[in-house]
Symmetry: C2
Subunit: 137 residues, 2 copies
């Protein structure tokens, strides 16, 4: 019922970068602005880079830029890249998956709720978050 810290950080970092999507961001600058531990932030950005969301350039004048348009980067992409979505499959109550023919009363409700959760994350892009000038980083 809660995203991992790593996912939350990834979303915060990318949202911050989305304010100026064309620019190249150095880790050092992001660390200053977002107050995230040096190596932890770098690890997250390396992951996002390998997952195809951003591009990293090494060496002097290196940094991170978006690999895709920010309107095409959805929250579900970011969550997938950091913590994965597998654990949200199966029965949320922890039972061995029951037969679909005779589900409990909760099952019927939860099917639509889970669909709504997934839908929300799949439909919201970095552009949607960025519309709000009030976000506190």
């Amino acid at each position: 019922m809660k995203l991992s810290n790593t996912s939350e950080y990834a979303i915060r970092i990318l949202s911050f970068m989305a304010r100026n999507p064309e620019r190249k961001y150095a880790a050092k600058y992001l660390i200053e602005q977002l107050k995230i531990s040096d190596k932890y932030l770098r690890r997250i950005l390396t992951t996002l880079s390998k997952e195809g969301i951003i591009t990293s350039s090494q060496g002097r004048e290196g940094g991170y830029t978006f690999q895709k348009k920010i309107q095409d980067i959805f929250l579900s992409d970011i969550i997938d890249a950091t913590e994965g979505m597998e654990k949200y499959l199966g029965c949320v109550l922890g039972f061995k998956e029951c037969s679909d023919e005779n589900p409990c009363a909760f099952h019927r409700q939860w099917v639509t709720t889970r669909a709504k959760i997934v839908h929300d994350f799949q439909e919201t892009s970095l552009t949607d978050l960025n519309l709000n000038a009030n976000i506190k980083f």
Copy 2:
């Protein structure tokens, strides 16, 4: 997005007990039936007892019985007793809570989704789960 193991165990144990709600269950029996570690199960049941969901009786012939009618024990009660619900408040994306006047696009969607999540857990009782004879413990 996932319940804690402890919550899942609590739900499994109570659902099992709900099959015969009047009977007194000894920990030893539940351990055999549900294949949960001795001390871990006992700890969970002690917690549920202190939280007013079940009653424990010590000593020889002791065990655990329901303190309330099973149709009045909702999933939200069990989750509250074991892991609490606090972590699900605040911004699910990990931002400092923004002003409600100018929320991001995700906020509007998530308000209704979260309400549906909470509603599902608050409306489903042990009786509802127990209606399904197919549940695998």
